[in-house]
């Protein structure tokens, strides 16, 4: 029962938090650039407006253009349900297992790639191809880094991993954990199409990865694609923040604890968002064919983390 409540709270909170996070990220960036910025509620306004438009679809686009965005949103919402964000009380039959989480995320990745191909344009296919190449190369890093986290906890269930770190905080600064965290962060940057892998603010088609796939979508189709990506970013940042700073997460259900959990995860995600935004100021997008090198580097770190945790501890 408490698992259901926490899951519900997580979904509602992140549906609210994800656009806010994007607003904060954009606002911080605008402030640093010397602009006034559109305010942290702008993504909400964008969404409301997109839902109030009459979408345009090409005659050649199939049902994928309609279903794909929904699949992306559902996969991101499932991430919000299953990840240990507000609380670490998992469902008995579908725990927040690492491999299940990654596969659910991949549903969204696939949906987006197919939407990109569906329009039958050059740009959509290009974005889709690049997106899938990056996704394929990210997966080893993603799995290995969380594998490294899982070794001290003795299980691949993310909520147990977070709980273990809460109980023995010295794990957080162990070299294994630091290496794995760096690797995981790079993997997540690649997965959520942030700098230096992709430039989320670009308007130039040839440099696009993520954006190129959405060029054909409009109105509510576009809205779901945007929400899905935002939710994914927010949920993954939430996971990272709980791995770095597990304090505040609910382990035993109580109303007060839930309140603390909600506030703490919101603060953690937003702070991480600000850090991300500030960090991105100092980064330039790397060339597409240097991305594999970056990912190989992160893979090497994750791999070192795993072997080190096997052989050192």
């Amino acid at each position: 029962m408490s698992a259901i409540i926490i899951a519900l709270v997580q979904v509602v909170l992140f549906v609210f938090l994800a656009p806010l996070l994007m607003g904060v990220i954009r606002q911080v960036r605008a402030t640093i650039e010397g602009r006034a910025g559109a305010g942290i509620w702008q993504p909400w306004r964008d969404l409301r407006k997109l839902l109030a438009k009459n979408p345009v679809r090409g005659t050649d686009s199939s049902w994928m253009l309609r279903v794909g965005p929904v699949a992306l949103v559902v996969s991101s919402l499932l991430l919000c349900v299953l990840l240990p964000l507000v609380g670490t009380i998992p469902f008995a039959l579908i725990p927040s297992d690492l491999f299940v989480i990654v596969s659910i995320m991949l549903i969204g990745v696939v949906a987006l790639a197919l939407v990109g191909l569906d329009g039958g344009t050059a740009f959509g296919g290009m974005g889709s191809s690049r997106h899938m190449t990056v996704a394929a190369l990210v997966e080893p890093t993603l799995l290995l880094s969380v594998y490294a986290f899982s070794i001290p906890a003795g299980t691949s269930t993310l909520s147990v991993i977070v709980e273990t770190r809460l109980l023995s905080p010295e794990l957080i600064i162990s070299p294994v954990s630091v290496l794995a965290l760096v690797a995981l962060s790079i993997a997540i940057m690649a997965e959520t199409a942030r700098l230096p892998i992709d430039n989320p603010g670009t308007h130039l088609e040839v440099t696009m990865l993520h954006e190129a796939m959405t060029l054909e979508a409009s109105g509510r189709d576009l809205a779901w694609l945007e929400v899905g990506s935002w939710l994914k970013l927010a949920a993954l940042l939430g996971l990272v923040s709980n791995l770095i700073v597990p304090w505040g997460i609910v382990t035993d259900f109580s109303t007060l604890g839930l309140l603390i959990g909600v506030v703490s995860i919101a603060v953690k995600v937003l702070v991480l968002g600000v850090l991300l935004s500030v960090g991105e100021i100092f980064l330039a997008k790397v060339r597409l064919f240097q991305v594999p090198e970056l990912l190989a580097g992160s893979f090497a770190l994750a791999f070192l983390a795993v072997t080190a945790s096997y052989l050192v501890a």
């Binding site: 349900v81 191909l117 296919g125």
Partner: protein
């Protein structure tokens, strides 16, 4: 006579009937009659296999193998499982092939070979001694070779494929024969119960292990013995490719299991590591080649290599872990490998049948000339899509559960109760996880490409634009295949528990059923219930769908005739990304492994060399193993062959001289 024996006898009888029917039936009726009889064979095999897997004993004694012991066909639980896999694929293929009415698929030769192939495959897992095993193996190989060659008259490439296939099959057969011979010599008998008695660490066991692994690895498409795969599977008729990839390859897996689990268990640690290495290399190499391939059937063929690599990776991991007494993880890895074999049978036969449907509708298997088939062939599109999800290991399909179990057993296998099992295992497990992860990522790209390019977007050729949905029997077969992929993915618990009984001494300790068909690995502490996952996603989807319905009522969509292509009027289908361009970034990333050859020809306008009239870019990715390993060897043979032609020039005198010299040499040797 027991039920199992009756089932096997019935199969043999039906097989004979099917052969006779194929010989006698009128061409118009041949496919129907043959198809119905083949379906009956497969259904009988399915029931027999199921009974054997559930623990029924009994068999069929054929007292005609003088001078050796009489042949005994009596499948054990493991054999039953593989009979089940083979016959399941057999049912799909038989239903599918019924609708072919003309051409080589409906020829007399093809319909004679089909039941032979099916029965041969059924009998291999039923064999209890090496002689009947090899006999059944040869029947299977013979049937498949004839089926492959049925089409040789119309296409030259089929003949070349046939040569490769026969050569590689005979190589496999030779290795297996040699392996069994070594074992039989060491143990003094040909039946498996005799062979089992051999000392695990002995030299004979080691030699036999390597020989049998080579033999079965060749059949299971493992690197570097996979070279026949990209030639044969694409060239064979699609339902035959489905049967080969879905069923026959599993017989290779069965052989591997026979060796590693039944005949030579408790081998040294290097056996497990060797199998893991071969499996991991096959998985990576297979999927890399598949991901850059633009030919739909070549892509599927290489992906089979990948999947079999993963199966053997699981098998090797299980052997390694069993050596360190990590029984729970070892059992889980073995069950995962078997589950992957089962699910591969489901999704890969559906994929090959789907490719067959595409070829039936368009005559094309080059992805670069397909596109937009989703709207034109909806049933095929959905079935192919579900099977692709299975091949890409996406949740609620069978492939996902199998890979999930494999990864779980690997990440928990390196440690037992907080202590490292061994240095070897703790190094091997992370590498294995990394290999599986990269494989899974590339598989995702491969099948997004295959599905997205073939079924979505705009047709890239006239043939694709004119495609129509395939006949109803083909659709039924495709739908059955897709349903089996979903069923295996949604109810992994009971299936895994059943599979565990075939290989584990304590199946309930390895796998249990939880919730609504969910699977739990008690020794590892991992739980997964796909049905709950579906319920959960349905729950979160409801608000989204409601929002869409409300929004769609208020703000209806508008359709325009062109996709957005920068406003230009020439956003033609030719400007779309093709399968080749889709894989281009990957080809660059793995440049050092794939060694693509690029050829760019620029033709300039006659008036000025600064203006380009047209550019032709050609890029081919060939099989590196074939060009680097087989070609030199083959060239060497060819050179010796030429030399031999001088020696054997047909002159009777010369041959007599050879005989005479040989006789003299023998006499000299004897006298020494």
């Amino acid at each position: 006579m027991t039920g199992i024996g009756a089932g096997l006898l019935l199969q043999l009888g039906l097989g004979a009937l099917a052969v006779v029917t194929a010989l006698l039936a009128a061409p118009s009726l041949r496919s129907r009659a043959g198809g119905i009889l083949c379906t009956l064979i497969a259904v009988t095999g399915f029931i027999t296999g199921l009974a054997a897997m559930l623990g029924a004993t009994g068999g069929l004694l054929i007292p005609v193998a003088l001078p050796m012991d009489p042949l005994l066909l009596a499948p054990d639980r493991l054999g039953g499982l593989f009979m089940l896999i083979v016959s399941g694929v057999g049912i799909l293929v038989s239903i599918y092939s019924m609708s072919s009415t003309s051409g080589p698929d409906a020829s007399r030769t093809a319909w004679v070979a089909m039941p032979v192939f099916l029965v041969g495959m059924q009998l291999v897992p039923a064999a209890t001694d090496s002689v009947s095993f090899l006999l059944a193996w040869e029947i299977m190989t013979l049937g498949s070779t004839v089926l492959l060659l049925a089409d040789h008259a119309s296409r030259a490439s089929v003949a070349s494929a046939g040569i490769w296939y026969s050569a590689m099959s005979q190589l496999s057969f030779f290795f297996i024969l040699a392996g069994f011979a070594v074992l039989a010599a060491a143990s003094g008998g040909t039946s498996f119960s005799n062979l089992q008695a051999i000392e695990p660490g002995s030299a004979a066991a080691n030699v036999a292990f390597v020989l049998l692994l080579l033999g079965f690895g060749g059949k299971a498409e493992l690197v570097p013995l996979h070279v026949w795969v990209p030639r044969v599977l694409p060239e064979a008729p699609s339902h035959v490719s489905a049967a080969m990839s879905g069923a026959m390859v599993k017989i290779g897996v069965y052989g591997g299991l026979l060796v590693c689990v039944r005949l030579l268990p408790d081998g040294p640690a290097w056996w497990g590591i060797a199998i893991m290495l071969v499996g991991g290399a096959s998985a990576l190499y297979g999927i890399l080649q598949a991901s850059v391939s633009s030919d739909l059937k070549v892509l599927l063929a290489y992906s089979t290599t990948e999947n079999m690599g993963l199966v053997f990776l699981g098998l090797g991991a299980s052997m390694l872990l069993r050596g360190y007494d990590a029984t729970a993880a070892a059992d889980a890895a073995l069950v995962a490998a078997l589950l992957l074999a089962v699910s591969h049978a489901a999704f890969k036969s559906t994929l090959f049948l789907g490719a067959g449907a595409i070829i039936h509708a368009t005559g094309e298997r080059n992805l670069d000339r397909l596109g937009g088939l989703g709207a034109r062939m909806p049933v095929t599109a959905v079935a192919f899509g579900i099977a692709s999800l299975g091949a890409a290991a996406i949740p609620i399909t069978s492939g996902f559960v199998a890979e999930w179990m494999l990864l779980q057993s690997l990440i928990h296998g390196g440690r037992q109760g907080g202590a490292v099992v061994s240095i070897a295992a703790s190094v091997a497990m992370p590498i294995a996880v990394a290999v599986i992860a990269l494989t899974a990522g590339l598989a995702l790209l491969t099948f997004v490409k295959a599905y997205g390019i073939a079924f979505l977007a705009r047709p890239r050729s006239v043939e694709a634009a004119d495609a129509r949905e395939v006949p109803s029997l083909m659709r039924i077969s495709l739908a059955l295949g897709a349903l089996s992929v979903l069923a295996l993915g949604l109810l992994p618990g009971p299936i895994a528990a059943l599979v565990a009984t075939t290989v584990s001494s304590d199946p309930t300790a390895a796998v249990q059923t939880v919730g609504l068909g969910g699977v739990s690995l008690p020794g590892i502490g991992a739980v997964l219930d796909p049905i709950m996952l579906v319920v959960l996603s349905a729950l979160v989807a409801i608000p989204v769908i409601v929002a869409i319905i409300v929004s769609a009522r208020r703000h209806p969509h508008r359709t325009v005739d062109l996709p957005w292509g920068g406003g230009g009027s020439r956003a033609r289908p030719r400007m779309q990304y093709t399968a080749t361009s889709y894989a281009e970034p990957l080809v660059r990333v793995f440049d050092d492994v794939l060694k693509p050859s690029r050829d760019v020809q620029v033709t300039h306008v006659a008036e000025s060399r600064y203006l380009v009239e047209h550019v032709r870019v050609e890029q081919t990715v060939s099989d590196v193993i074939e060009t680097r390993l087989y070609r030199p060897v083959l060239n060497l043979f060819q050179r010796y062959g030429k030399a031999a032609r001088h020696v054997a020039n047909g002159s009777i005198h010369r041959y007599l001289t050879y005989s005479f010299v040989a006789l003299l040499i023998v006499l000299i040797v004897v006298s020494l």
